[in-house]
C-alpha cells in the first residue's frame, strides 16, 4: 500500500510537508520575516514574499505603507500595475505620470500618478535608477517568439498573462490590465526616438521603496523584459516587503517638490476628506 492510499494516510502525508522552505514563498506571518528594513519593527511588517523568476503576486496595501522591492540576485524584472483599492477603476496612468512630471525616466522622488489626477505612490528610495515606462509587459505572442512558448502553465510565463491572474484574484479582468511600469530594467530614448535597453545583470540587492499615498492593490509580474536581448529566459527572484507607515505629512519634501506633484497630493487629501 502506498503512503497515500487512505484519507488518513494522505492527511499524514500532506501534513508532513509543512515547514518546507523554498526560495520563492511568502513569510506568514509577515512579522516573522528576517532582515527587516532599518528602524522597522517586526510588528509593523504586513507583507514579505519572495516572487519566483516568472512568478507574480498581487496584494492590497494601506495608505502610508511602504513597499520595498529587492532585486535579490541582480536580474529581477518586475512589471507593476497599481489600482486604487477602494475603487479599482482608478489606476496607474503611465502617460499622465510622465507628462505631468515633464520627464520619462522614473526614480527617487518621482510620483506614480493615477488617471484621476492623484498620486498613488511615491518613489521614496531607489538604488537602481534603471526602469522603463515605455515598453510595457511581455505577452504570449512575444514570449512564444523568443522562448517557444509563454504560457502560465509552461516554463516561460509572460507578464501580461501573469497580470491576468494577479488582477483576477481581486475580481478584475483583461480590461483592467493597464499600461505598466517596468522596474529594474532600463529603457532610455535616443535622439531619433529609438528605445535603448539595458538589462544588466546588476549587483545583487538593489532596492526600490514605494510609499502608498492611497489604499492600493499592487500587481507584480517578475518576467524577463519584453526587449531583453538574451536568448535564455533570464530572470531572478524579487523580494517584496511591506510595512505600516504614517500618511505623508504636509511638510514632506517629495510632496512639495514640484507644483504639479503638490496638486496631486492635494487631490489625494481632498479625496480622503469625508
Amino acid at each position: 500500500m502506498s503512503s497515500t492510499s487512505t484519507p488518513y494516510a494522505a492527511q499524514a502525508h500532506a501534513r508532513a510537508q509543512a515547514g518546507t522552505r523554498v526560495e520563492a514563498m511568502p513569510t506568514v506571518p509577515a512579522s516573522a520575516a528576517i532582515d527587516l528594513p532599518p528602524g522597522v519593527a517586526a510588528t509593523d511588517l504586513v507583507w514579505d514574499e519572495t516572487i519566483a523568476p516568472g512568478g507574480y503576486a498581487s496584494r492590497q496595501i494601506a495608505r502610508g505603507s511602504r513597499l520595498r522591492l529587492t532585486d535579490l540576485a541582480g536580474d529581477a524584472s518586475v512589471s507593476l500595475l497599481i489600482f486604487n483599492a477602494e475603487r479599482p477603476v482608478e489606476r496607474l496612468n503611465i502617460a499622465d505620470t510622465l507628462k505631468v512630471q515633464w520627464n520619462g525616466y522614473l526614480g527617487q522622488g518621482r510620483l506614480l500618478l493615477s488617471d484621476m489626477g492623484r498620486v498613488l505612490a511615491s518613489i521614496v528610495e531607489d538604488e537602481a535608477g534603471t526602469h522603463d515606462a515605455f515598453c510595457g509587459a511581455s505577452n504570449q505572442a512575444s514570449n512564444a517568439r523568443k522562448y517557444g512558448d509563454g504560457f502560465n502553465h509552461g516554463a516561460h510565463p509572460n507578464a501580461r498573462d501573469r497580470f491576468s491572474l494577479g488582477v483576477a484574484k481581486f475580481g478584475l479582468g483583461r480590461k483592467d490590465i493597464h499600461p505598466c511600469l517596468n522596474l529594474f530594467k532600463e529603457v532610455r530614448v535616443g535622439q531619433g526616438g529609438e528605445t535603448v535597453i539595458e538589462v544588466g545583470p546588476y549587483a545583487p540587492g538593489r532596492q526600490l521603496t514605494l510609499r502608498a499615498e492611497m489604499d492600493l492593490i499592487v500587481v507584480l509580474a517578475n518576467c524577463p523584459h519584453v526587449l531583453d536581448p538574451r536568448e535564455a529566459y533570464a530572470v531572478t527572484p524579487v523580494r517584496a516587503t511591506a510595512w505600516r507607515g504614517p500618511v505623508t505629512p504636509v511638510e514632506d519634501p517629495i510632496r512639495n517638490a514640484t507644483p504639479e506633484g503638490l496638486r496631486a497630493f492635494l487631490n489625494v487629501e481632498d479625496y480622503f476628506s469625508r
Partner: protein, 208 residues
C-alpha cells in the same frame, strides 16, 4: 514620407469632425482611414478596439516595444495589447506622431495647469462619451495615439508637448489589419501648443 496624399479607392465615409468633438467609427479589415489635419497642428487623440472583442485594444507600449521606437511614422504598425497588428500607417505627410503623451483629462489638467482648468472640456471626456455608445467605460481607457502632436524626449528624459510639426492639409493614412472600432477625441486642449491654442476641425475619410 509623402506630401501628396495617395489616391483612395471607393470612399465609403467622409465626415468632418468639429473642433472639440468625439467620433466613433468601425473600419473593416483592409479599409483605409485617412485623417486630415484641415487647419494644421490639431491633435487627434485616437484609440482602437478589436470590433469582435473590445478587451483587445491598442497598446502604445506593445507598439513601442515592437518597433523599438517611441514615434509613429510611415510604416508603423499599431499593435494590440495581445501583440496583434490592428492598423498600419501606410502613408503620412508628417514626420512623426506621438503615442506617449496620453489624453488630456479634467483631472490631469488640475495638476498640469491648476484647479481653474477642472471644468474645461478634455479628451478623456470625449473618449468616455464615444465609448459609452458601445457599452465601454473608464476601464477601456488606455494610452492612446496623438496624431499630429509633437512630444520630444531629451537626453535627460525631459519630455513635453511642444509646438507641432504638422500643417494645414497634412494627413495620416491607416489601413485596418482587422475589423476595428476607432474612437477619436478631436482634442479641445487650450493650455498647451498641441492644438496651436486653437482647436480646429479634422476630416475623416474611410475608403475600401
Amino acid at each position: 514620407m509623402a506630401f501628396d496624399p495617395p489616391p483612395l479607392n471607393t470612399i465609403v465615409h467622409d465626415e468632418v469632425v468639429p473642433a472639440r468633438a468625439p467620433w466613433l467609427h468601425e473600419v473593416k479589415a483592409g479599409q483605409t482611414l485617412r485623417i486630415v489635419d484641415l487647419e494644421g497642428n490639431q491633435a487627434v487623440d485616437f484609440l482602437v478596439y478589436n470590433a469582435r472583442d473590445d478587451a483587445e485594444r491598442y497598446s502604445a507600449q506593445d507598439t513601442i516595444a515592437a518597433q523599438k521606437n517611441i514615434f509613429l511614422r510611415e510604416g508603423s504598425v499599431l499593435l494590440s495589447n495581445e501583440g496583434a497588428p490592428m492598423m498600419t500607417v501606410t502613408a503620412t505627410a508628417v514626420a512623426y506622431h506621438d503615442t506617449i503623451g496620453g489624453a488630456c483629462s479634467c483631472e490631469s489638467n488640475t495638476l498640469r495647469y491648476g484647479h481653474h482648468t477642472k471644468a474645461q472640456h478634455a479628451c478623456v471626456e470625449n473618449f468616455l462619451v464615444a465609448n459609452a455608445i458601445q457599452g465601454r467605460g473608464k476601464r477601456d481607457m488606455v494610452s492612446n495615439v496623438n496624431w499630429f502632436m509633437n512630444v520630444p524626449v531629451e537626453a535627460d528624459g525631459a519630455l513635453g508637448i511642444v509646438d507641432g510639426i504638422s500643417a494645414p492639409g497634412l494627413y495620416v493614412d491607416l489601413r485596418a489589419e482587422m475589423d476595428v472600432v476607432v474612437v477619436v477625441s478631436n482634442c479641445p486642449q487650450i493650455n498647451n501648443p498641441c492644438n496651436g491654442f486653437n482647436p480646429t476641425p479634422v476630416r475623416m475619410i474611410v475608403a475600401r
